[in-house]
Symmetry: C3
Subunit: 158 residues, 3 copies
């Protein structure tokens, strides 16, 4: 019997919440569940390339882009971040306990064929272009999310 899907809306884009999303997602995929992760609003920052990508933006878009973290290494904690110190300490403690980093979890997710989808409406609103996001992801809107969630039993908003 085919397994039901798992879907995750990754909304927050904090280091700790993104870690939780990918730990659940890769765990579910490893157990044979088809998994779709839908990145929306601040969650898009998880998918941003680390390097600066030159694209045409208006003033507001430039401002948003500058203030938002560029990729997994730059994300802060949802609590006790203290300007990035909290995130640094958390990463140190994860390394000590051999917990794989968010960057490795993302690669793992791609190896496990987890479908990673960037929300095109959020991209428009926040002025994020495809060139700024990592390769190997898909682009879609809420209807695509709902179609996947319809076949799922573990549907989380994170």
């Amino acid at each position: 019997m085919e397994q039901k899907k798992a879907t995750m809306i990754v909304f927050d884009g904090d280091l700790d919440k993104a870690m939780a999303s990918f730990i659940i997602a890769t765990g579910a995929a490893a157990m044979g569940k088809p998994v779709t992760m839908f990145f929306t609003f601040w969650g898009l920052n998880v998918l941003r390339k680390e390097q600066y990508v030159k694209v045409e933006k208006n003033f507001l878009e430039k401002m948003f882009a500058k203030m938002m973290p560029r990729g997994p290494e730059k994300l802060g904690l949802s609590k006790m971040n203290y300007g990035g110190i909290g995130a640094k300490l958390m990463k140190k403690m994860m390394k000590k306990h051999n917990v794989v980093s968010l960057k490795e979890l993302i690669e793992m997710a791609q190896d496990l064929d987890i479908k990673m989808v960037a929300c095109t409406m959020s991209m428009d609103v926040m002025g994020i272009h495809k060139e700024e996001l990592i390769d190997g992801i898909e682009y879609a809107g809420v209807a695509t999310y709902l179609a996947e969630a319809e076949d799922g039993n573990v549907n989380l908003f994170i």
Copy 2:
């Protein structure tokens, strides 16, 4: 075959999270799913009337009511709000990309017969009266939410 329900607990009451809730909710309803949104704690602020409503309140309730945003136009962002500037910029960018406003999404939700329920326990705790909330909503407790969620497959906590 009757479609399974979608339910959402709208807890946070930030502009961005409320937008996400209503985009998913109206999307699901447009696809024919029966949708129930359950507004609790800070989520109640989404349902508040914009205008001040005179009701009997004790000191604490008055204080809470004054500090919490009154309706969709007053909500802040969950991140990068900067005293409301972030929310203003976000709304500007949404308008530019023809994304409907939260206020319009709420009207759309009512047109689509989405069941919007205010959590009576949270109303008690936060001292919010029925007269302060918009028309066309229902009032119930956690048992009602659970009964709806039981028939759902897409049950989100936002």
Copy 3:
């Protein structure tokens, strides 16, 4: 017919979100649903004993432990906490309206045989030891969560 499970990932560990988790969990259990709550990251603070427990920790772990709230009485609100004043006022208003406290909800959850599981990976990362957490809980990882969620229809991330 056996009822489907309800599962909750308690991630945030704020007073208001923890209250919401336990109100939903005890409500579901009272209706006969098997319920599992999985406490991870900041959610672990909900399960901490109030009293200080002497355990071997390294410098970073000590720092984290000191800065994080010890048990349900010490948790803050996710919004409008103002250094704990908000949480105090909220508790006062809950008492006035005969809403049971978080501490009582936790006891109720245990009486109702709700399975409360502490995420061992998070415990490792945050340097929290079993001796620091309340009695009557279980210890497991993400695979256990996923196995429970597989049999559930109400699976929430809070």
